[in-house]
Amino acid sequence: MRVDRRLVAWLLPLGVALLLALLAASHSAAREAAPASADPALEARVQRVASELRCLVCQNETIAASNAELAVDLRNQVREMLRAGQSEREVFDYMTDRYGDFVLYRPPLNNATLALWFGPFVLLVLGLLSLWWMLRRRNRLPPDRFEADENP
C-alpha cells in the first residue's frame, strides 16, 4: 500500500511533465527545415538589437515592431552594421551618438541611473531585513502588549 502511493506520487507528476515536454517538443527547433531567408542568425541578431531601440516617430514602439519609415531605415542600418562585422555595442553607440540615450530602451548604467538599476535590489534587501527585524522585535515584546487571539 505504501509503495503504491509513493509510486503514484512520483509517476503521476512525471507523466504530466513528460506530456508537457512532448507538446513543447512538437515546436522544437530540431524539426526546422531549411530557412528561406539568407542569414537567419543575422536576422535574429538584428531583431534582438532592434527590439531594444525606440522608434522615435511612434508613441512607444521598438524599431523592430514598428512599420514607420524611419523604423525600417534604422532596421536596415542595424542590419548593415552587423553584417559588416560591427558589434552590438557599436550599433547602440551609433544610435545614441545621433539620437541620445532616449533611443535606448535599456537605460545606460551611469551616475544618473545608479538609483534606477540598483534601487529595486536595495529595496528588496531592505524590505526583507526590515521584516525580519520587525518580527524579532515584536516577538520580544511582553505578552500584555498583544490582543486576545480570536482564532487560536
Binding site: P13, H27, Q47, Y105, W117, P120, E147, N151
Partner: protein
C-alpha cells in the same frame, strides 16, 4: 435634448454625493441613526442618476447625434452599432462616464450586500465612496464634459480609432474599471475604519470579499488588455511595460498584497496598520494610473489626448484624496493594536514576506516608469526605460516570490518548525526539479532562466497538490467527515479551493510565459504565389491575396495554408486594412490557437506583383498566459463565496461608536 438631460443628471448627482458624503458621516460621529440611514437610499438615487446620464451618452452614440462633440470625435455613421456603443467609453470623457458608472455601481453594491455591517460602519463607507464619486463628478463637469455640443454640426464623425474597433474594446475597459473602482471599496473600508477607530478582525473579514472581487476584476481586465494587444496590435508581443500597462499593474500588485495581508489581519488581528496602508495605497495607485494616462506626463502608446490642464485637476484630486487618507492614518495608526502573536516561522510570516516582495516589485515598476520623469525634472537628460530594464529587475523578484508561494500554504499558522516544514515540502521540491528538468530536456534545451521559470511553475503546482493531499487525509485534526477521498474533497472550504485554483492559475501563467519567452520564433519571409516556408515543423504556403470590403474599411486579405507532416492543419487569412475615415492602416493578424501554442501570421508589406512580406510566428503555450490569469481571477471569486463571508455579524453592540472610542 437627451445630452442636456444627461448633463443635468450629472449635476443632480453632485447634489446627491454632497449629501451622501456628509450627512451619514456626521451622523456616524454623532450617533444619529436617521442621518446614517440616508446613506443606502442615497446610493440608489446616485446609481439611477448616473445610469441615466450614461444611457444618454450611449443613446447619442447609437443615434449618431453628431451635434455632440464626443460623438463627432469618436464615432461615424458607418461604424457598426456595437462599436458605436463601445466608442462611448473610447474617449477620455466617455471613459470617465464609465468610471462614474462603476463608482456608483460599487457604492450601490456595498449598500445592497452589507446587511450584516453595523450601521455606523456602513454609513462611513458609503459617505467616503460618495465623496470619491463627487471628485470624479466635478472632474467631468468642469474639465471633461461628454455632453458638450459642437456647432456647426458636422455631417459625419471622425470615426473610432481603428485599433479600438474590436471586441476587446467592449470588455477590457469595463473589466479594468471594475477593478480600479473596486479598489475604492477597500479604500473606503479602510478610511471608514480609521475614522471610527475600530480595526478588528471583523473589519478584515468584511473587507476581504470586496477586495478580492475588485482584485479578480482587475486581473481579468489586465489579462484582457494583454490578450487584446497581442491579437489586435499585431506586433506579436503581449506585454511591453508601457507606462499605461504599468499604471494598471501597480495597483494589481498592491491588491494582491492586500488580499494576502487581509488574511493575516483576519486570522490574527495583526499587521492591521500595514493592511490599512495597503488599502489606501491600492486606490491611490488607481488614481495615479488615471493621472498618468490623461496628463501627458509620460509617453505611452495608450494615452488619451494629453492635456496638462486636466492633468493638474486629477493631480489635485488625487493629492487631496490620498493626503487626507494618509493624514487620517498617521493620526489613528499609533493606537491600532498589535493583534495576536505568531512565531518567526509561520504562515503569517510567509504571507508578510509575500507582501514585501509584491511591494518591492511594485516599487520597481514605479521606479522604472517614473525615472525618465525624475531625470528630466532635475535636468539630467532624457532616457527611456523599457522592457530590458523591467524584465531584468522584475523577474528575479518574482522568482523569489514564487518560491514563497509554494512554502506559504504548506506552513502552519502561528508556529511552525523548519524541519517539519521541510518534510512537508520535500516531495513537491523533488518532483518540481525533476519535472522541470524533464520538460526542459524534452523541449529541446532551455537556458538557465527558462529552467528556473519551469521550476517555479511546477513548484507552485505541486505544493498546491501537496496541500490538497494533506487536507484530504482522514484524521481528527481536519474537520472533514466523509469516508472517501472524494467526499472529503467535496467538503473542502471554498476559500481554500479558491486559493488553490488561483495559485494553479499562476503556475499556468508562469509556464506559458517561460515557454513563449524561450521558444517564440519569428520569421519574416518574402512570399509569392505558391511559395512556402517552414517554421518549427509547420509549413506555411502562400495562396495569394484579394481585396475585401468591410463595413467601414477596405482590406487586402491574404490566404495561407499551414501543413505539418503533409497534413493540413490550418488556414489563415491575415488582413491589411485601411479604415476609410481615418485613413489609418491596420494589420489584422491571423492567429490559430492550439492548446500547445499559437500560429500567428501577419501581412507585412507588399513587394512586387502579389508578393508580400509575410511575418510568421510560432508561439508555444502563449494562450496559457491568459488562461492562467483567468483561473487566478476565478479562484478569487470562488474563494469569497465561502460560507464564512455569509455569516451574520455576531457583535452585540450595533450602537454607534463615536470618534472618542478606543482602538479596539
Amino acid at each position: 435634448m437627451i445630452p442636456e438631460l444627461g448633463h443635468f443628471a450629472l449635476w443632480l448627482a453632485v447634489g446627491v454625493t454632497l449629501a451622501l458624503g456628509t450627512v451619514p458621516l456626521i451622523g456616524a460621529q454623532r450617533g444619529r441613526a436617521d442621518w446614517m440611514a440616508l446613506a443606502r437610499p442615497a446610493t440608489h438615487v446616485l446609481l439611477a442618476l448616473i445610469l441615466f446620464a450614461f444611457f444618454c451618452l450611449l443613446a447619442s452614440f447609437v443615434r449618431n447625434d453628431f451635434s455632440v462633440l464626443n460623438v463627432a470625435s469618436n464615432s461615424n455613421s458607418e461604424l457598426p452599432t456595437m462599436y458605436r456603443i463601445a466608442a462611448s467609453w473610447g474617449s477620455h470623457e466617455g471613459s470617465l462616464m464609465l468610471w462614474l458608472l462603476m463608482q456608483a455601481g460599487w457604492a450601490w453594491a456595498v449598500a445592497a450586500f452589507s446587511r450584516n455591517l453595523p450601521l455606523p460602519m456602513l454609513a462611513r463607507i458609503l459617505s467616503v465612496m460618495g465623496l470619491l464619486t463627487l471628485s470624479f463628478l466635478l472632474f467631468v463637469l468642469f474639465t471633461s464634459n461628454p455632453f458638450d455640443r459642437v456647432f456647426p454640426v458636422p455631417l459625419d464623425g471622425r470615426d473610432l480609432n481603428p485599433q479600438l474597433q474590436d471586441p476587446g474594446m467592449i470588455f477590457h475597459p469595463p473589466m479594468l474599471y471594475m477593478g480600479y473602482v473596486g479598489l475604492s471599496v477597500a479604500f473606503a473600508f479602510a478610511v471608514a475604519a480609521l475614522i471610527g477607530g475600530n480595526l478588528d478582525t471583523q473589519w478584515a473579514r468584511w473587507s476581504r470579499p470586496w477586495t478580492t472581487v475588485a482584485w479578480a476584476f482587475l486581473t481579468f481586465g489586465i489579462a484582457l488588455g494583454s490578450w487584446w494587444a497581442y491579437y489586435e496590435l499585431g506586433w506579436g508581443g503581449w506585454w511591453f511595460w508601457d507606462a499605461v500597462e504599468n499604471a494598471s499593474f501597480m495597483p494589481w500588485l498592491v491588491a494582491t498584497a492586500l488580499i494576502h495581508s487581509l488574511a493575516v489581519a483576519e486570522k490574527r488581528g495583526s499587521f492591521k496598520n500595514w493592511t490599512v496602508l495597503l488599502a489606501i495605497l491600492g486606490y491611490s495607485l488607481a488614481l495615479l494610473g488615471t493621472f498618468l494616462v490623461r496628463s501627458g506626463v509620460i509617453t505611452s502608446v495608450h494615452s488619451f489626448a494629453s492635456d496638462p490642464a486636466r492633468g493638474a485637476f486629477i493631480l489635485m484630486m488625487m493629492g487631496v484624496t490620498v493626503a487626507a487618507a494618509l493624514t487620517l492614518y498617521a493620526w489613528r495608526a499609533p493606537r491600532i493594536g498589535l493583534g495576536a502573536r505568531f512565531g518567526m516561522l509561520s504562515r503569517e510570516t510567509m504571507l508578510l514576506a509575500n507582501n514585501v516582495l509584491l511591494i518591492v516589485a511594485m516599487a520597481a515598476v514605479m521606479l522604472g516608469t517614473l525615472y525618465p520623469l525624475i531625470l528630466d525634472a532635475f535636468g539630467l537628460g532624457k532616457i527611456s526605460v523599457g522592457p530590458p530594464y523591467f524584465n531584468a529587475v522584475y523577474v528575479p523578484i518574482m522568482a523569489v516570490l514564487m518560491f514563497f508561494m509554494g512554502v506559504g500554504p504548506l506552513s502552519r499558522w502561528k508556529n511552525d518548525s523548519l524541519p517539519a516544514l521541510a518534510v512537508r515540502l520535500r516531495w513537491a521540491a523533488g518532483v518540481a526539479v525533476v519535472s522541470a528538468a524533464l520538460t526542459a530536456w524534452g523541449s529541446g534545451g532551455i537556458g538557465f532562466g527558462g529552467f528556473v521559470g519551469l521550476l517555479m511553475a511546477y513548484w507552485i503546482l505541486y505544493t498546491v497538490v501537496a496541500e490538497i493531499w494533506d487536507r484530504v487525509q482522514p484524521s481528527a485534526a481536519t474537520a472533514l467527515g466523509g469516508s472517501t477521498v472524494w467526499q472529503r474533497l467535496g467538503q473542502l472550504p471554498r476559500a481554500s479551493v479558491g486559493m488553490w485554483v488561483a495559485h494553479a492559475g499562476t503556475a499556468m501563467f508562469v509556464f506559458g510565459v517561460t515557454m513563449v519567452s524561450v521558444y517564440d520564433i519569428e520569421k519574416d519571409v518574402a512570399m509569392g504565389m505558391g511559395e512556402s516556408t517552414t517554421v518549427r515543423g509547420y509549413t506555411f504556403t502562400y495562396q495569394g491575396s484579394r481585396p475585401v470590403n468591410g463595413p467601414n474599411y477596405e482590406a487586402i486579405r491574404g490566404h495561407l495554408i499551414v501543413t505539418r507532416d503533409g497534413q493540413q492543419v490550418s488556414e489563415l487569412y491575415p488582413e491589411k486594412r485601411v479604415y476609410r475615415v481615418q485613413r489609418m492602416p491596420m494589420t489584422e493578424a491571423a492567429i490559430d490557437t492550439r492548446w500547445h501554442g499559437d500560429l500567428y501570421v501577419q501581412m507585412g508589406e507588399p513587394l512586387a506583383q502579389d508578393k508580400w512580406l509575410v511575418r510568421i510566428w510560432v508561439k508555444p503555450f502563449v494562450t496559457w498566459i491568459w488562461i492562467g490569469c483567468m483561473f487566478m481571477g476565478l479562484g478569487g471569486i470562488w474563494a469569497i463565496t465561502d460560507r464564512r463571508y455569509r455569516q451574520r455579524v455576531t457583535r452585540s453592540s450595533t450602537a454607534p461608536t463615536g470618534a472618542a472610542g478606543a482602538a479596539v
